[in-house]
Symmetry: C2
Amino acid sequence: MPQHSQATDQDLRLLDAYWRAANYLSVGQIYLLDNPLLEQPLTIQHVKPRLLGHWGTTPGLNFIYAHLNRVIARDDLDMIFICGPGHGGPGVVANTYLEGTYSEIYPEIARDRDGIRRLFRQFSFPGGIPSHAAPETPGSIHEGGELGYAVAHAYGAAFDNPDLIVACVVGDGEAETGPLAASWHSNKFLSPRIDGAVLPILHLNGYKIANPTILGRMTDEELLRLFEGYGYEPHFVEGSDPALMHKAMASTLDIVIDRIQEIRRASREDGAASRPRWPMIILRSPKGWTGPKEVDGLKTEGFWRSHQVPLSGLAQNPAHLALLETWMRSYRPQELFDESGQLIPELQALAPKGTLRMGANPHANGGLLRQELVLPDYRDFALDVPHPGGSNGEATRAMGELLRDVIRLNADARNFRLMGPDETASNRLDAVFEVTERVWMEDILPEDVHLAAEGRVMEVLSEHLCQGWLEGYLLTGRHGLFSCYEAFIHIVDSMVNQHAKWLKVSRDLPWRQPISSLNYLLTSHVWRQDHNGFSHQDPGFIDHMVNKKADIVRIYLPPDANTLLVVTDHCLRTYDRINVIVAGKQPAPQWLDIDQAMAHCAAGIGRWDWASTEGDEEPEVVMACAGDVPTLEAVAAVELLLAHLPRLRIRFVNVVDLMTLQSKTEHPHGIEDDHFAALFTRDKPVIFAFHGYPQLIHRLTYKRPNHDNFHVHGYREEGTTTTPFDMVVLNELDRFHLAIAAIDRLPQLGAAGDRARRLLQGRLAEHRDYIRQHGADIPDVADWSWPSRGTAASFD
Amino acid sequence: MPQHSQATDQDLRLLDAYWRAANYLSVGQIYLLDNPLLEQPLTIQHVKPRLLGHWGTTPGLNFIYAHLNRVIARDDLDMIFICGPGHGGPGVVANTYLEGTYSEIYPEIARDRDGIRRLFRQFSFPGGIPSHAAPETPGSIHEGGELGYAVAHAYGAAFDNPDLIVACVVGDGEAETGPLAASWHSNKFLSPRIDGAVLPILHLNGYKIANPTILGRMTDEELLRLFEGYGYEPHFVEGSDPALMHKAMASTLDIVIDRIQEIRRASREDGAASRPRWPMIILRSPKGWTGPKEVDGLKTEGFWRSHQVPLSGLAQNPAHLALLETWMRSYRPQELFDESGQLIPELQALAPKGTLRMGANPHANGGLLRQELVLPDYRDFALDVPHPGGSNGEATRAMGELLRDVIRLNADARNFRLMGPDETASNRLDAVFEVTERVWMEDILPEDVHLAAEGRVMEVLSEHLCQGWLEGYLLTGRHGLFSCYEAFIHIVDSMVNQHAKWLKVSRDLPWRQPISSLNYLLTSHVWRQDHNGFSHQDPGFIDHMVNKKADIVRIYLPPDANTLLVVTDHCLRTYDRINVIVAGKQPAPQWLDIDQAMAHCAAGIGRWDWASTEGDEEPEVVMACAGDVPTLEAVAAVELLLAHLPRLRIRFVNVVDLMTLQSKTEHPHGIEDDHFAALFTRDKPVIFAFHGYPQLIHRLTYKRPNHDNFHVHGYREEGTTTTPFDMVVLNELDRFHLAIAAIDRLPQLGAAGDRARRLLQGRLAEHRDYIRQHGADIPDVADWSWPSRGTAASFD
């Protein structure tokens, strides 16, 4: 039962005028340098020298935006707009300009003739704005450039925002991508009671760059089935006649908004529990709608030729210039803007007011709404470590307890979610299930465990969805963490690129408020793929991340549980960053008590005195390490070295914050060169046991003093389903290889070194044989623990 | 009208016995070290010390495999099996063992008691085999470890294999991934006339590691709609009672095989042109089917608790050990294997014979079927380059002509395809459309261009699909190339990881024949994103690739059209590699004629005399470059330097084959250190203009002589929609910055250097101003061309 007025013919006429204004401003952005209101006949001097931009999707976006304005203004809806079609920049910019937000944020783009001229000029112009909806675009949380993430972002924005409607336009090109195809299933994870609504608008204009699209050519019957299968209630709006289309779109929007309100009522008032069939709109409209029908005798409107700039080569082709003028004048700008270049009051009145304008909705500038997380005292979860190696523990289990209390303390704020591809429990974060559940809107069976329609944990076997949801959640001002198998985080390499780019640009926009960092826990890492083997081994995500801008990226390799607690606490407090934490889940020796952990993490890198034997002299060799398994092997290597070469002066250095290794000039966390030399010496061999690909350490340290003496052991792309120790042996990261590597660089050891090397090689061979025969590690390696030695001095 | 016999009750009883044998062998692989036929009571000594493997999906896979055997043997079907569920290793291994292929390939795993003992022992055991269907598994072209690519691989295998049926099992976990969700649309690209059939079997066992699955909990009604929407004809087989399920599966398989043959007939005999509705099977069976119903009072069969090893801690828990024995004996092994451990003849008779066995089908060891491509003479497409810089050309356009002739010359063999996300024409490879079309099974409208049901070009806006199709195509013995926007190739980072791992393992298996290389053309690269800006800029894929095993990866950065022709020709001749070619599509100066290009590419790296001014003395500075835009800027920088410092001795070095830079010990293409020093000197500054992230050059050369003097300019993650020259300026890769960088390292230039620096800085500022004001590059940069100088000597 609609509680609102339907659109009258007069409403629709005004809407059409508003749409024409948006289309006019869109074409103007692509083409014009000057003569913004076409007060003079158009000449080539008014046209940009380089025509960059995309017309094809824009009129459809403008159509949608104008119609959404109508229902927002009428019903005071809290709505944001996600523009999936990457090339829709001119449309979103035009609309936020028309509604006034653009000029509020960028006063130099005023609501007058000169403002329009600047608006046109800046588009895809050096020093101006990009051609996509981007961080620079008011109301955007989504850079559509890459395609594939619109729906995931939309759901991320809707979670825990019960009053919000996220209108999400998906282009039919984007709809071909994998991430988008999976995203439709996000409706299985959205609670109509505590979450907002996503209104997908599948905008089929039928063409990509030079091809029809899959969904664009499917029949309505197949589309209907597909989206009903996905769990939606599709409503079609199809055609090309503007008058008919306005009517159809207005009445369809009335229906779907009603339907959303009904679903909310049913859930929130009547307690309906089952997953509702959310409405969606399938809008078929011509590509390049209202643009030139034909150019040079070739079909253009309603075809892929209108994808980019339908008319080009204007300087050489006066007919094209004339066609452009005819096209632009077809919107009748003089009816839309007054002499000063202001949108006429009748049209201004159509836009929603204040923060109801989609360009001004604070959800789309999430930092405005962001509340700090309430964090527990991480010391409460500290493992007791009476002395280094004096206890065993599972690092991620301790982190799980911390996260449990984060969830508990912020339960009322509903602003923290934990994402993961079905691995929260297997990654030993399961303490969180003491206070929350996994979100699940499908049927729940009696035997099911920790499933509920509402919860803080989101598990789906799609890293794309985890990433996309979390990005949407963070961009609208909330907090979260994504826990993932280390190897498979590469699945989102390209997504994280886009997020890093978004953050880089946003940081330079004073009006964009900081958002919470994107936090990763990468666990079930390369060294402990006992069950899964080679296909699950890849520590290269951190290599990928260090290509990003230094202000954005932090990489932590805590060696044990207490350092992981400190690092997690830190990451949850940061903003506008991407924090990557790599930590194992398996039982392992613990090295630092919580105070030591705090001090070590604060420094990011440091000497561990208890594992060093240099005394007051300079060491002969530095044993360095980063990562939990490498740290264990490095400590064990020190013990082996001392067993055979008791007077060797070893320094032990552990790195938690990987970026400390890079030069200060390259990364803000980089330590000074003097500090680096004080740690790693100026001329002694450094044996570096590294979690990832060895080259990364070389890459980070190539400018550093003593770099030529760095010998890095790490993952060499060798592995299979085998024992944990065999894995490190296969990659020469084990204690024996590390100890031998040290001896190899210490010719001054002479015969004693040769003897030690032979003994170590013999023991390595024994271990290998034992593993092959028994399928398990020899007990003295498997159960190895660092003897309590008190202080470094006791080594000698 | 079925033309074949249906399964009798006796057939089904035997099928059940065969299934029990496969299940028995699967459980044995997970658990047993010894006592393989349970001839003695089971003791803990017979059990593996570490239990690694996954039971949950296995019985369903065994069920499917056994039923496929029946129809293959009956109808002499040419069929391969793709095992999407990663954790199905034990099942595929068990089945290929039962059918005999396993022992033929691995004679030590004989068809007797000791063979079974070894079969059990090797599974997930050090030195043994991995837990997934993997390269080691006969009949596999698919490592299911990561999940998401099964259907794309299946379609890739089916293209141009008209008699093949690719049975493709998709787990319901995998079905949640994005790439898989998009892959269902592959049916829009498969011609029933010239391509084989894909028979998807969506295997819903309902659970992932610790959660229900989305598709597993959907109703049949929603599933039906979803897959009808995707264009399939779903057939459901659902239940848990083996006898009923055998009956249902057998009759359903009869129907779907008939349906496939009907579709083929309709297309090939009756000329039906429209896209058919291919059949698929939706099989709902319990997870861990036939395993323990409950363990420790908790539901196990039909629940996620049977995902991995349902019974564990056997040494401490005799009840679990007893349960294991009961479970294994429930398959009645003594009825299945004779005393020597041979499968009884009645069951052996069920398997297809020879190469009809899915483990022995040559399509699954594609190198066996691979024919060399017939390649044109690339010189035919060479650009005329009268002198360096003496002509302009679009590199990829020349490559397109070469590819056109590759397609033409191999048209009858139908063994080459070109994949890309809708960019073949925009990447200027459109010469191929002179001889072929884009594949498109949907309706074709009068205005459509170069679409046809059959063609060599496959365009879909999903890099995942392009990659997955091409992998499947190559793995079954064909050839191809994937052309992609450089930035968005990161979308498949994780897929290419898996392919690189596959190649690494396959190379060490003598029975796996080499397959054609996976060739990438990365174009529309970082420096020429004039339309798209920052979101489309990322040259980091090559960083990702250099982490792979050196034998696998080659990276080429041809500086112009003729070098691109040589490199392309070379890549198309290689096998078992991943070749990455980065080349631009925009008009640019050409440097080398085809003979010079051939010589330069053969060396991979070399001095360009015509751009060098060292004469007989050692140079004062080396200007090095890799990539087309960097080469242009480096050449222009030399010209600027000489204009201001005419006596400067410059050496110009260009790198085509990036891996020449790495040490010989690290990569087979690495040049010797002496050669490196002869090129880059031992102590002179090297200004290196690089296409990608500068760190990659440091990483490749950190062990090289003179590395400390390398100053690399490359992409610094700065960009937006702007002019091409502004892009290089933003990243300090432009000619002015390069020239200034050289001067900065040449203090001996004194006042002359200072003067030159000031002049260059002034010109840089001029250019910046011009760009900001005019939105275009200043003409002397935009139209810059290298003056014909004849020889290096003429510089002085």
